[in-house]
Structure formats: structure tokens, C-alpha cells
């Protein structure tokens, strides 16, 4: 097996050999490698296939901008992950990766045929075809498109890993651990600011840390050596936190940033030190210093996508950082000086290297040095074509015309297996724009630069357009100084000697002899959009960059256009004759690099998906085999099946017991609000539809609360505990909303009222006992209390004690039975409940759940807000006119009851429904009609509640029916899929209309 590794490497530990698998074949790399560098060291360039044409693609970069080398990690396991960049994943023992989007394999891919039909499938072709015959779209065309689209495979097993979140607040956040970030962090931390430095790599230093070149010196040291020492000092600083393997994903307003820290993705299964895979840091920083660097631009020419065509700076990093050689016959193809560093590095390692420069000539320090060493340079030249299917093997070079618009002279064909391309640099302004910042355009080297308005954040280093070492250090120092209002720093006198670029020449789309239509000059490598696609879009009238982007899908691949956006813009501006500056860029949307769902969600999965609220009696319910219903965040007993009872049987038994003898219900979840103050009763007058002033102390009253739009909002019983003291109960689901709504009115509309509201929902456990024998049970529990009907009347309460513990006994009923509710401090709730069960034994006291409660109240025609109402029902619609005070001047929602629509006589109104066949149970939600044959069918209303009543031994239902008030006795239909059920409109009270049972 060939070895492309050089002898000595600083950042790869050649004593630590690691084995990994790629496409099922075992290879070896070293600790410190990325998957990409390890593959390259094994001479493997072809790692994937492109999205549309399935062209062979190789590793092109060494970072997050990688468009081609994306793999499926750990295929077929529960740790699999699609679309992982080989350039970002660190090598670990046992790592398995496979190439994507190819079948049967990456070397021979059937999909490659697309490359040959490519003339027929230009950008947006799918908008123009697949329309005939119509039926084919659903059954043939689309399934085909779907199958061929998509890259990796979604996991199909639950994720065994955990993810965590942490909030952190700091003075200064520095994004990026390159030379400018390090300088900024050092200044900030030393100035006493609580500082965080974040970098996505596993080591600090950016690209300077491997800049091993005589032409770049800081204080007379080679730049990399100088920086190395700086980093060592940095690590000693106290109020500085350094986070490596951490990438900022999003920069939201108010300096709220999200950063994902990788904890185990670089470790083999058995070396994982943490059971957390990734932690999402939620950062609030007073100020942010962005030092995110710049990305090298590729060049756009015919067949510029072959494996072996790599960014020049990446070739340099693979060599100097990982110690990997990308090819034997290397060419550097550039329009700027920076690529000459790559040439020098290769030359010094004795590797064959030639240079193609589109510039006519330049005499900068570094270029002179290269010439002095005798490295061939093809000036004023361009690559016009490349060859080699699975791996680059040769290139074709031609001279450029004077204005660069064409190629001239004869073709030179040269052997080449690694073409190191450099089209200049693009500052990473993503963070700046995400934060809401705008951009300026710099004509000289055609880059967009941060336009800084507020003092919330600054950009330093190459992301701010400083590409020369001396500028970087000088400007970083100055900007950070003014951000922190410092007089001077240790970097004032830092002396830099470096080569300076003298000449620039940029051609977005390099010319060719062949007509553009016949070339494949790629702009977006992953999505296979080419220069001619951009021109087609423009030809078809797509002008705005966003249109072109969407039509050609340029910049919409998993690299989000990090390599392609600028070239697309450049070609648009050239073709349309609009200045790039005025064209503007597309918006950079978060996240900067794809972020796992798991990291975003953190630990709120499984049992922690949502809060579970439990009553103090919960344990008992579980012990007694309760089935639970989710009511908001509460767990409420739904029913208590015995042996092998199903729900229906259990509910029938429970509700019968409640009516025949005694039932017991945990009513602790109802909202409770303690209301005090001299205006308490006036307050109730304003929030409820009925009158409260005259309610005597010790008495309870049912109240209905509306929205301002007149629709029923909540209901409950309120008790007058004292002259200025009430206890309000609300529905379980409504509790929180009611309290904040009431506070809202108190604080904003009626500040003059002397009223205090305090939630006591969790203070009390509420045990409700109903049934003809309930009184007997209560007497056993409270021998001292007089339960005599004329003394302890319905809708009144008494304070008492049980074993010297205070409690409140309310005689109120939601079932129509004689019924008592006991409120006791929650810590005694379970104990009290058990006592009640004990006391009720002889009376077959039966615990019942929400289902039975719903049935019992339905027999009495009591409504449940949210089930029998839906936000469109007024009290009048519910036939509860009696509860709407005519005397009161005003209450919440009153005015709305008198609007032209709400006073209509024929609105939907609450009625009872009886089925012709008493055994037939209606489906809740079923619609109600009078005539099914007349189309369109007119729906009169729907069934809101429906049960089989064991006590009436027939099916009963509540429904809302248009003009129902006037329909009593009328026959209607409930049409189901397979049959129509005959029903008769009835009174909504089915049982004990005279309320005899309340005093049974």
C-alpha cells in the first residue's frame, strides 16, 4: 500500500497507529489525523459522488467548507450519522465510514449515467417536465426523483447517546482560535474581562500554527513558533475559558450565541470519557469578538471538480500539519500570492511542483523567492481542462488574452495528480450577518466585509478582510483596544516582517476555447450547479441572487455555499452588468455548520420531554392500578380497572357505585386562587357573569368567566371564607391562564381595586366524596361536625379538623349527588384519602376517575369548559342565561354578548340528545343533521359529550345544535360512515332535574 506520509509531523503522532474502515476496507492512520488526512495518506482521493450527476468526487478542503468528501459514519449501527465531512471527523480506533449517494459502490456508480444525460437536465429542468401524463408524477417521476436524491441515510435506531445544555454568561466571547483570536483573547483576559475563547478544531492556532516559512516572522521568530509560545501563555490566564472542539452554530440578537461542544465524537466506543456526546452552550456575552477567519476560493474552469483538485491552502495544511502529500506531480493554480506558500512547502519537502498564475507577472517577496528556487511559473495562464475519471491525471494549460476574456496560443498538456487551486480568500462574515450586521463590498479583492454599527461585536483578522500578517496583528490589537477602552497592550510593539501581495487579478469564470454550454465548470460542487446553470437562470429572467440561488440550488447544499456563493455572485454581476456591491449577498442563516437535533434538544427527551405534575395522592392511585389521563401537564386517574375489566366496564361500575352508595375522587388538580382585599367581591363581580356582593360568608357559588369576546373561558366554584376573603377554584387546565388573566386586569385595568391574588393550587389536596352514603362517611371522619342538612346546606362550607389537622369541608356537587369536598394541607392529602377509603369501606366507597366524573356530570347536564364549549359558545348558547346578571353594569365579555351575531336566536345551543336505540352510544365529535339527502349537507352541530349511563340504563349525549333551544323533541340524524343514527333532541339534564339527590 502506498504511503503518502512525510517523515516528521508536529500534529500527528506517528507512534500511535490507528486502524479504520472505509467502504469496508481496513486502512491505517495516526492519532491526530482527520478521516480526510488519513485517507489521503493512503492515496485515497475518491470518496463520494455528487448529488445530481453522480460525478466522482474527492477531498477538496480541510475544513467545514468541504463540499465533496462527506460520508456515512458507522453505517448500519445505532451510532450512524449521515453527511459527515471527512475533513472534520477526527480519526479514532474502529471508525467506520462509507461513501454516499452511489450504487453499487463509489468506484462504479450506476447513477454516473446522469453525467451523460446531463445536457438534458440543466438547472430547473424538473419545473419544465414530468407533467405528462399527469398520473405519472405521483407514481413514477416523483418516486424516481426522491430515490436518486438525498445523500446519506437517516438513522433507523434510537440514539444511544445523550446531549446536554449549559447556560454561560461572560464579558467577552472570542470566536476562533487563530492568530487574531488568540491575540484578542489574551488582551481581553489580561484586561480583567471574564473571557471565553472558542475554536472548532482540537488545537488552537488556525493556519498560522503551521506557517513554517522564512517569509513570515514575528519579533524575528518564524510565525508558527511565535504563536506557539503565545498559546502556551494564554493557557495560563485565569479568567479565560478555552473551549476547543466547539463550534459556534448561531449568533442571535442580544449577543445570544449557541455553541456545540464535541465531547466524544473523536473517541472510540470504549474510550468514551463522558456519556454525553455533545453539549450545547447557550452563551450570553456582553461583547463578542469574531475571529472566524477566511475560506480560500476555488477557481471556476472546465472539469474543476475531479478528485485531486484541492484548495492550495488545504494542500499546505495536509503537508505541514498532518504530514500528508496529496500528489506526486503537483501544480499550484492561483490568482494570488498565498498559494506560493504551498508551493514553497512542497518544494522544501522535495516534491515536484509547478505554478500556473493567471496574473501577468508580480514581484512580491515570496514570488521572487520561488523564482529564485527555480520553480516553473506559467504566467498569465489558466487551466482549460482536466483529465482522469476517478483521479486527476493530467491538465491542459493555455495562455490568457490581454483582457482575460479568452484563451490564446497552444494548449500545453501536463501530467498532474494534484492541482492546488487558489482563487483568493472569502472572509467568513456569517457570524457578523447572523447577528444582524450589514456588509460592505471591497472592490480591490472583491470581498464582502463587516460593516460595524453597534458596539455589540467586532470582527478581527481575515474575517475582517485583513489577509497580511502585519495588518492582522496591528488591526486586531487596535480594534480590541478600542472595544475594551484600553490605552495600550503588550502587542503595541510587536514587529512583523512578511511578504506583501502587490498585484491582483480575479476572473470569476475562467475562459475556454469550448463554448460554455459544453463545459462543466462547477460552482456548487455538491449540488452540481455550474457556470452555465447560472447563466441559464439569468437568461430565463431570474435576476435577484435569491432567485438564481433557488433556481440553480447553488449554495443550498450541506456546505451552504461556503465555496460557491461568491463565484455565483461574481458571474451574475459580470453577466448582468451589475456591480457585486449593489447585488448584495444571500442571507447567511444559522446554523453555521449543521447541528444535530439531539444537541438542540438536550436532555428534554423521553421522561423529561415535558414536566409531569402529580398530586399528593398519586402514589395511592398507582398502587391501586389507576389508568391515567394527561390533563395539561397533570397525571389524573382516568379509571381504576379491577382484574380484567376494560374501561367501559370499570366506568360503569364506578359511576353506579357513586350514585348507589359512595364514590371518591381526587380533585386536587383544580386550580385554587386565594383572593383577599377590601374590593374582593367587587373584583369577582367584574370577572364573573353573575353577582357576588351578596354571597354570605361560609357560602359557595358557581361562576362562569368569559373572554372579552363573550365566549365562555373558564368556570368553577368560589367560596366566601370571610368578609374580604374568597377561595376561587378554576378548571385544571385553565388554572395558570386564569390567574395571569386576573392579574392582568388587576394591574392594568383596575389598579384602584384593593385585591391580592395568590395561587394555592398546590397548597391543598382535595378529596371529593359523593353519593347517598357520603354523609355517613363524613360523619365518621368528622364526628364533631353537624352535617344536618339545614345546618350544613348545599353550597356552603365548614372549617374543621381531623386528628387536629385543619381542613375545610365544602358541600358542593359536580355529580348531582349529595357530595362533599375536603381541602387539607397537601402533605396530609394521601393520609386523608386513605382514611376516607377506610371510613367508606362499609359503604363500598369506590374511587373513580375523570371518565366517571365526566359521565356523572353529563347525566346532570353540567358542562365541561373545553369539551362542551370550544371558544365559540356564550353562556346564552349554553342555555345558562340564569347565570348572566342582567343587573350588573359590566363584567368581562358582557358587551360582546350584544353584538349582531351573538344575539342571534338561531345560534348553536347546548341540548341533550337521546338515541332512538338506547343501547346506541354516539361518538363524541359526530355531526348532527336534519336531512342527509339534500346536498350540500347542512350540519346543525355536533356531539360534545356522550356516554352510556348505567344509572339511566341508556345512552345519553350533550350536543350543540343550531337553534337547539327550539328543537326539543325533534328527530335528527347523526350520520356515520356506515349508518345514520336517529336521535331526539332532549333536555340537557337527564337525571334528577329537581335536585332531590343533593339532599338524599
Amino acid at each position: 500500500m502506498p504511503n503518502y506520509r512525510v517523515k516528521k509531523t508536529d500534529y500527528v503522532d506517528q507512534t500511535n497507529r490507528i486502524s479504520f474502515k472505509f467502504d469496508g476496507k481496513t486502512y491505517f492512520g495516526f492519532k491526530g489525523d482527520t478521516l480526510a488526512s488519513a485517507l489521503l495518506s493512503n492515496g485515497i482521493h475518491l470518496v463520494g459522488r455528487s448529488f445530481k450527476y453522480h460525478r466522482p468526487r474527492g477531498i477538496m478542503t480541510c475544513g467545514s467548507e468541504e463540499p465533496n468528501a462527506i460520508c456515512q459514519i458507522n453505517p448500519g449501527t445505532d451510532l450512524t450519522e449521515p453527511n459527515v465531512r471527512a475533513t472534520e471527523i477526527e480519526l479514532y480506533e474502529g471508525l467506520e465510514a462509507s461513501s454516499q449517494n452511489c450504487w453499487p459502490n463509489v468506484n462504479f456508480d450506476i447513477g454516473g449515467i446522469n453525467n451523460f444525460i446531463s445536457p438534458f437536465i440543466p438547472a430547473g429542468f424538473y419545473y419544465k417536465t414530468f407533467m405528462w401524463p399527469k398520473s405519472f408524477w405521483k407514481n413514477i417521476y416523483e418516486p424516481l426523483i426522491r430515490k436518486s436524491a438525498g445523500l446519506g441515510k437517516s438513522p433507523t435506531l434510537p440514539d444511544p447517546d445523550l446531549y446536554d445544555h449549559k447556560h454561560i454568561h461572560c464579558d467577552i466571547l472570542v470566536i476562533g482560535g487563530g492568530i487574531s483570536g488568540i491575540i484578542a483573547a489574551k488582551i481581553a483576559a489580561k484586561s480583567g474581562s471574564n473571557t471565553i475563547l472558542i475554536d472548532d478544531k482540537n488545537t488552537l492556532g488556525g493556519s498560522t500554527i503551521f506557517q513554517n516559512n522564512e517569509n513570515f516572522k514575528i519579533n524575528d521568530e518564524i510565525s508558527k513558533d511565535w504563536l506557539f509560545k503565545e498559546i502556551e501563555e494564554l493557557k495560563k490566564l485565569k479568567n479565560l475559558t478555552i473551549k476547543t472542539r466547539t463550534s459556534v452554530a448561531a449568533y442571535h440578537s442580544y449577543n445570544y450565541l449557541l455553541a456545540k461542544e464535541n465531547l466524544t465524537d473523536h473517541l472510540s466506543k470504549n474510550n468514551k470519557t463522558s456519556n454525553i456526546r455533545q453539549r450545547l452552550w447557550k452563551i450570553r456575552s456582553n461583547k463578542v469578538i469574531i475571529a472566524s477567519g477566511a475560506i480560500e476560493r476555488p477557481l471556476v474552469f472546465n472539469n474543476n471538480d475531479r478528485p485531486g483538485i484541492i484548495l492550495a491552502s488545504s494542500v499546505n495544511k495536509y503537508l505541514n500539519f498532518y504530514g500528508v502529500i496529496c500528489g506526486e506531480n503537483n501544480f499550484v493554480f492561483t490568482n494570488n500570492d498565498s498559494a506560493y506558500e504551498t508551493a514553497l512547502s512542497l518544494f522544501e519537502k522535495g516534491i515536484q511542483i509547478k505554478i500556473i498564475d493567471i496574473r501577468k507577472k508580480t514581484n512580491s517577496k515570496i514570488v521572487k523567492r520561488v523564482e529564485k528556487l527555480g520553480i516553473d511559473i506559467y504566467w498569465n495562464s489558466t487551466v482549460t481542462n482536466t483529465f482522469g475519471y476517478r483521479k486527476l491525471n493530467s491538465i491542459e494549460i493555455m495562455n490568457l488574452s490581454e483582457d482575460g476574456s479568452n484563451v490564446i496560443g497552444k494548449k500545453i498538456k501536463a501530467k498532474c495528480d494534484c492541482l492546488a487551486v487558489s482563487g483568493g480568500w472569502t472572509p467568513m462574515v456569517h457570524m457578523h450577518t447572523q447577528s444582524g450586521g450589514k456588509l460592505n463590498f471591497r472592490e480591490s479583492d472583491q470581498v464582502f466585509l463587516p460593516k460595524e454599527l453597534d458596539s455589540e461585536h467586532i470582527s478581527v483578522g481575515s474575517c475582517n478582510g485583513d489577509f497580511e500578517l502585519d495588518d492582522i496583528i496591528k488591526n486586531t490589537n487596535e480594534k480590541v483596544k478600542s472595544l475594551l477602552n484600553l490605552k495600550e497592550t503588550e502587542f503595541e510593539k510587536t514587529y512583523v516582517s512578511c511578504t506583501k501581495e502587490l498585484d491582483k487579478r480575479n476572473i470569476w469564470l475562467l475562459p475556454n476555447k469550448i463554448t460554455l454550454g459544453k463545459t462543466k465548470s462547477f460552482i456548487d460542487f455538491q449540488n452540481d450547479s455550474t457556470a452555465k446553470d447560472i447563466k441559464l437562470a439569468l437568461r430565463e429572467g431570474f435576476r435577484s441572487i435569491e432567485h438564481v440561488k433557488r433556481y440553480t440550488t447553488t449554495g443550498m447544499a450541506t456546505d451552504q455555499g461556503k465555496l460557491s456563493n461568491m463565484h455565483a455572485l461574481g458571474i451574475i454581476s459580470e453577466t448582468a452588468g451589475v456591480k457585486m456591491g449593489t447585488l448584495g449577498t444571500t442571507t447567511f442563516r444559522p446554523p453555521f455548520t449543521p447541528l444535530t437535533f439531539g444537541a438542540i434538544v438536550g436532555r428534554n427527551v423521553g421522561q423529561f420531554f415535558d414536566i409531569t405534575r402529580r398530586t399528593s395522592i398519586h402514589e395511592w392511585h398507582i398502587k391501586n392500578n389507576a389508568k391515567f389521563e394527561n390533563v395539561g401537564q397533570w397525571k389524573r386517574p382516568w379509571y381504576y380497572p379491577k382484574e380484567n375489566e376494560n374501561m367501559h366496564q370499570a366506568v360503569q361500575r364506578e359511576s353506579k357505585a357513586a350514585r348507589d352508595s359512595a364514590g371518591i375522587l381526587d380533585a386536587s388538580t383544580l386550580g385554587k386562587i386565594d383572593i383577599q382585599g377590601s374590593d374582593a367581591s367587587e373584583f369577582l363581580n367584574r370577572v364573573y357573569t353573575n353577582a357576588w356582593s351578596k354571597l354570605a360568608i361560609g357560602k359557595c357559588r358557581y361562576g362562569l368567566m368569559l373572554n372579552e369576546d363573550g365566549m365562555v373561558y373558564d368556570d368553577g366554584v368560589t367560596t366566601r371564607l370571610g368578609d374580604n376573603h374568597f377561595l376561587m377554584t378554576t378548571t385544571t387546565g385553565g388554572a395558570a391562564n386564569v390567574l395571569s388573566k386576573l392579574e392582568d386586569y388587576l394591574q392594568t385595568e383596575w389598579p384602584e381595586l384593593d385585591v391580592f391574588l395568590t395561587s394555592v393550587t398546590d397548597q391543598y389536596s382535595t378529596v371529593s366524596i359523593c353519593g347517598p352514603n357520603s354523609k355517613k362517611i363524613l360523619i365518621k371522619l368528622f364526628p364533631s361536625v353537624n352535617f344536618n342538612d339545614d345546618d350544613f346546606t348545599h353550597m356552603s362550607f365548614k372549617n374543621s379538623t381531623i386528628n387536629n389537622i385543619n381542613c375545610r369541608i365544602m358541600r358542593i356537587s359536580f355529580t348531582g349527588e349529595l357530595s362533599y369536598e375536603i381541602n387539607i394541607e397537601a402533605k396530609y392529602g394521601k393520609s386523608l384519602w386513605e382514611k376516607c377509603i377506610e371510613a367508606g369501606k362499609d359503604f363500598n366507597i369506590t374511587p373513580y376517575g375523570t371518565e366517571t366524573m365526566h359521565l356523572l356530570r353529563a347525566e346532570k347536564g353540567f358542562i365541561i369548559v373545553g369539551q362542551d364549549t370550544d371558544g365559540t359558545m356564550t353562556p346564552i348558547d349554553l342555555q345558562m342565561d340564569w347565570i348572566v346578571s342582567k343587573k350588573k353594569y359590566d363584567f368581562i365579555g358582557k358587551r360582546s354578548l350584544y353584538r349582531s351575531d351573538t344575539i342571534r336566536e338561531d345560534r348553536k345551543q347546548l341540548v341533550g340528545l337521546l338515541t332512538e336505540d338506547p343501547k346506541e352510544i354516539l361518538e363524541e365529535g359526530a355531526q348532527i343533521v336534519s336531512n342527509i339527502s339534500k346536498k350540500p349537507v347542512e350540519m346543525l352541530g355536533h356531539v360534545t359529550s356522550s356516554y352510556f349511563s348505567p344509572n339511566l340504563n341508556k345512552s345519553i349525549a350533550l350536543a350543540v345544535v343550531r337553534n337547539g333551544k327550539k328543537m326539543k323533541g325533534q328527530k335528527l340524524l347523526v350520520p356515520m360512515e356506515n349508518k345514520n343514527i336517529n336521535v331526539i333532541v332532549s333536555d340537557s339534564i337527564f337525571l334528577d332535574k329537581e335536585n332531590k339527590r343533593l339532599n338524599a
Partner: protein, 182 residues
């Protein structure tokens, strides 16, 4: 006799962290605005209600936490609620100087101790503890894992965390789960 049941919260110790239920405590919600209100509270509890936001005041028996300009919680160890509450109630609620409400069972008090205390809280609270943790007697009403909590920084790296009873078990499970990752 009735036995007492608190949410299932048993003492747990992790390195640099100690979690426990801090009951039984009496907790009284106190609302009021005018001068007489303050003097009456002072007379009965011999404590000056803190008027500075997010702070607390304490004496040998009572802790008073600021909740809002007209709302405080007074909490103290003990079982017999009646005496203090009744005094306050009769002197303040009854005479319309404010509102006194027994909320001893509405809130459950969890004690968190140790060097990692604020790391734990930061796992799921957006609150900025940087200055909060520096000095004791600070009070914060905020959210922890989407649950309303009141945090009383009574001693250095030692807080009483108040959570509504029905949420307590759920939050406790979450806290224990979080503690593993510190």
C-alpha cells in the same frame, strides 16, 4: 393520626454536590403596600421585609424573601403554622392592610449544597448567576428546566430551592439526572 407525605425526595450526594429535602418548613405568602403593613409584619416577626429587589433578610427564626414590590415569602423551620400565621392574618388580612396566605404546602423546599451548585442550576436556567453566587441573601425567581422556582442563596454555595409541590418530584428527578453530568 394523619401521616405526612412529602414528594419522593431523598438525600443524594455527588462529588461537590449535596441534595436534600429541606422540610418541614412553614412558608407564608405576604402581600401589602402601605406603612402599617410593614410595621405590623415587623412587630409580629421582628423582621424587616427587604425592599431591595432580589434580596432577602433573615433573623434567628425567619427568612423573608423579596418576590415583588408588594409580595414576600417568609419561611422558617417548624410544624405549628397556626400561631404566626394567625397573628399575621388577624392583624393584616382581617384589617385589610394586605394579604396573608399559608403556602407551606404549595412550595417544597430543596436544599442544594456544594461547589457545583451553580453549575447544576446553569444546566437549565437562563439566569445569570455570576454576581448572584458571589454574595449570600440573594433571591431569584426564575425557571429551572421549564419549571418556576425561587432560589434563596442563604450561604455560600448553599441554596434553598423552592418549587411548587406538584412539580417537585419531576424537577427532583431532573436535578438528579443533571448532577451526573457535572
Amino acid at each position: 393520626m394523619l401521616n405526612i407525605n412529602f414528594p419522593k425526595i431523598d438525600k443524594k450526594t455527588f462529588n461537590d454536590l449535596e441534595l436534600s429535602l429541606a422540610e418541614e418548613k412553614i412558608k407564608i405568602n405576604i402581600r401589602g403596600k402601605n406603612k402599617d403593613f410593614f410595621t405590623k409584619v415587623g412587630k409580629i416577626t421582628s423582621i424587616i421585609l427587604p425592599t431591595e429587589a432580589n434580596t432577602s433578610s433573615s433573623n434567628e427564626k425567619f427568612n423573608a424573601l423579596w418576590l415583588s414590590p408588594d409580595e414576600w415569602i417568609i419561611y422558617f423551620d417548624g410544624k405549628d403554622t397556626n400561631k404566626v400565621i394567625n397573628n399575621l392574618f388577624n392583624e393584616i388580612s382581617k384589617l385589610n392592610f394586605g394579604a396573608i396566605t399559608d403556602i407551606s404546602d404549595h412550595w417544597v423546599c430543596i436544599n442544594i449544597k456544594g461547589r457545583k451548585t451553580f453549575d447544576l442550576l446553569s444546566s437549565s436556567s437562563p439566569f445569570n448567576f455570576n454576581s448572584f453566587k458571589k454574595s449570600k441573601n440573594n433571591v431569584a425567581q426564575t425557571v429551572l428546566n421549564h419549571t418556576d422556582v425561587i432560589i434563596h442563596h442563604k450561604e455560600v454555595d448553599d441554596v434553598n430551592l423552592f418549587v411548587r409541590r406538584s412539580f417537585a418530584e419531576d424537577l427532583w428527578l431532573w436535578i438528579n439526572d443533571s448532577a451526573r453530568f457535572l
